[in-house]
């Protein structure tokens, strides 16, 4: 074989090698990488789908739990309203006074302006007011229990029992009426004005 023929053969081999190199690096390798990525994506999507299918089996439970939470929230907002109107507060205290009629002699002395109160992650509206009455000890205990069962919620921050001789006591209670402050549900309400005319004046205004 002469050298011309050998060179031609060598070029032939070289061309084959170049084609193999180019095809592997620029065609096959990207295809394989794409295949691997896609396979991972599909696998992950399948896992996600399976999880969703499993969750779908509990969908009714989710709905039931949401309903229960909604009920709890309604109950909570009855106790800690987002909006409290002056006349509601007065009505509530009047009703309470009527409940206690004959047992105690009540005087509501003073209602403060609303303040903010932070409990854990929750922000509350709070108004202090004092509640005084004369009663025997049993009457005091009864009032104590009933005050804590009112809606909206009243809490007792402190109280003083003073003896008037015999069974009679003078009770001074510092109470707080509480409302929930929810930034997501700001009520569009007029400015706070406790001493104004008795109307729907919102006592718990957002800051």
């Amino acid at each position: 074989m002469n050298s011309g023929y050998r060179s031609k053969l060598f070029l032939y081999v070289l061309l084959t090698a170049v084609i193999v190199y180019v095809a592997y690096n620029y065609l096959l390798k990207p295809q394989l990488a794409k295949q691997s990525t896609l396979a991972n994506e599909v696998s992950s999507l399948n896992v996600q789908l399976q999880q969703l299918k499993d969750k779908k089996l509990h969908f009714t439970e989710y709905e039931d739990e949401l309903k229960q939470i909604e009920e709890k929230k309604k109950e909570f907002f009855k106790q800690y309203p987002l909006v409290l109107y002056e006349e509601d507060l007065i009505d509530m205290l009047k009703k309470f006074r009527i409940q206690q009629q004959g047992k105690i002699d009540v005087a509501i002395q003073q209602i403060s302006e609303p303040k903010s109160l932070q409990i854990g992650n929750a922000a509350l509206n709070m108004m202090d007011f004092s509640y005084s009455f004369n009663s025997n000890y049993r009457g005091f205990e009864d009032t104590f229990d009933k005050l804590l069962k009112t809606s909206p919620r009243i809490t007792i921050s402190n109280f003083t029992l003073g003896s008037k001789g015999g069974d009679s006591l003078t009770v001074n209670m510092s109470l707080q009426i509480l409302g929930y402050k929810d930034d997501m549900q700001k009520p569009n309400a007029p400015q706070y004005k406790l001493n104004g005319p008795k109307s729907k004046i919102n006592l718990f205004l957002p800051n």
Partner: protein, 179 residues
């Protein structure tokens, strides 16, 4: 024996070249064919995977309402947990006050006449008249024995002018670790 091959050398070489050329072409075509198959197979797999991806994504999209409901539930759980913590915290404060009221009854010796009691979320103050020093000692001993109170502060112990006993004022702090 003598070689009687009469074919000319030129023809032999020509034939060998043709054979080599054929072989080279076959190798080349074979390599190209293998490459084509090697590229074609992943392409088919990729097409199949893409079709599967579209299908699975579609199914996931159809079940999106489950995810939405789950997210809604998670948010609602967090929200109610905050509200529950408010209720629990306030209930705990009320329980303290109730407990303190009950304690003051059980700890108070009978020979003390209480004239006033004041209770807030973490302390009790009271004033009254004790028959004698022993009764005051009994009171302090009862409070200590309960293990729930600290920071005794006694701003006043004075004998009553008419000699009928000893006036006492006392303030204690609730620490809430009962025995």
């Amino acid at each position: 024996m003598k070689d009687l091959n009469l074919i000319p050398q030129r023809l032999i070489i020509e034939r060998r070249r043709k054979q080599i050329n054929k072989l080279s072409l076959s190798v080349f075509v074979g390599v190209i064919a293998v490459l084509c198959v090697a590229i074609l197979i992943p392409t088919i797999i990729i097409n199949r995977l893409e079709a599967e991806k579209t299908l699975v994504s579609g199914e996931i999209e159809k079940l999106k309402y489950v995810t939405d409901k789950e997210n809604e539930l998670i948010a609602a759980r967090n929200d109610i947990a905050i509200k529950d913590s408010v209720t629990t915290d306030l209930k705990s404060k009320e329980d303290h006050i109730r407990e303190m009221l009950k304690d003051i009854h059980s700890m108070m010796p009978k020979k003390i006449v209480v004239s006033s009691i004041s209770i807030d979320s973490d302390s009790i103050s009271f004033s009254g008249k004790a028959e004698n020093e022993m009764v005051i000692a009994d009171l302090i001993s009862n409070i200590r024995a309960s293990g729930k109170y600290s920071d005794f502060f006694i701003p006043d112990i004075t004998p009553v002018k008419d000699g009928s006993g000893i006036a006492i004022s006392l303030k204690i702090k609730y620490i809430g670790q009962g025995v």
